[in-house]
Amino acid sequence: MLSKIVRTISNQLILFILIFGLYIIMHGHVTPGGGFQGGAVVASGVVMLIAAFGSSEIKKSLRESHLSVVESSGALIFIGMAFAGMGTIFFYNFLVGTPVFGGIPPTGPNPGNVWTGGVIPLMNFGVGLKVMAGLSAIVLAMALFSSGEEMEE
């Protein structure tokens, strides 16, 4: 556990990191970014908390069963969206033309429109959830392992 200054600043900064990560995830289809990149940003915020507070403290809040549920549900959102278009074909973009994310983006340079892309922003969201939970679980498990404890089942 590091000094009080570091802990206080980490507590303030984690909010901004979370918002920045979610921004990268949700705007993945118009600006550079997307599911993996935003999830990695949020996971690096969790790494900052682990470095500031110590893994035993964080283990009380981020339980491994919660992370496992978030990770599985992220993957299920992704594959569920792929199966939902199964009336025509797998991975069919059935939301094009509908009011939910269904605009047609113009080709050529343009100011981006978030309400385009069809199924892609929802899949970005699923991937972002999975990467957030997965990378945080990896780093938390390694930190706990090297300090001698184990993650509970």
Binding site: P32, P109, G112, M142
Partner: protein, 118 residues
Amino acid sequence: MMQYIPFNIPFVAAALLVGVALFIFLFKRNLIKIVMGVAILSSGVNLFLIALGYRAGGVAPIYTATPEGVMVLPVPQALTLTNIVITVSVIALMLTMVMYIYRHMGDIDAKKSRLLKG
């Protein structure tokens, strides 16, 4: 295929990185160095893929508020991104195994901690 980049520097750098990684696999015995060798090999291949797509005077291949001009190829960037994700998982798995080997054997030299021989 590729426009003229002076001295083809990115491709030379990618070949150097792959060469360094192959040297590590052949001659180094410390397990952590072998893991680092995989990371360096992956970086070399990623650099090679990105450098393939370059067009002279190109801009980023996105449509949102870009200046006019020729765009670089976007497909190698997608291949590189997939490779980065895969490499993260592989390195995490290898580091976990090295931690377990250290816990069991107390040493991470590949010659001293070998159990399976013959």
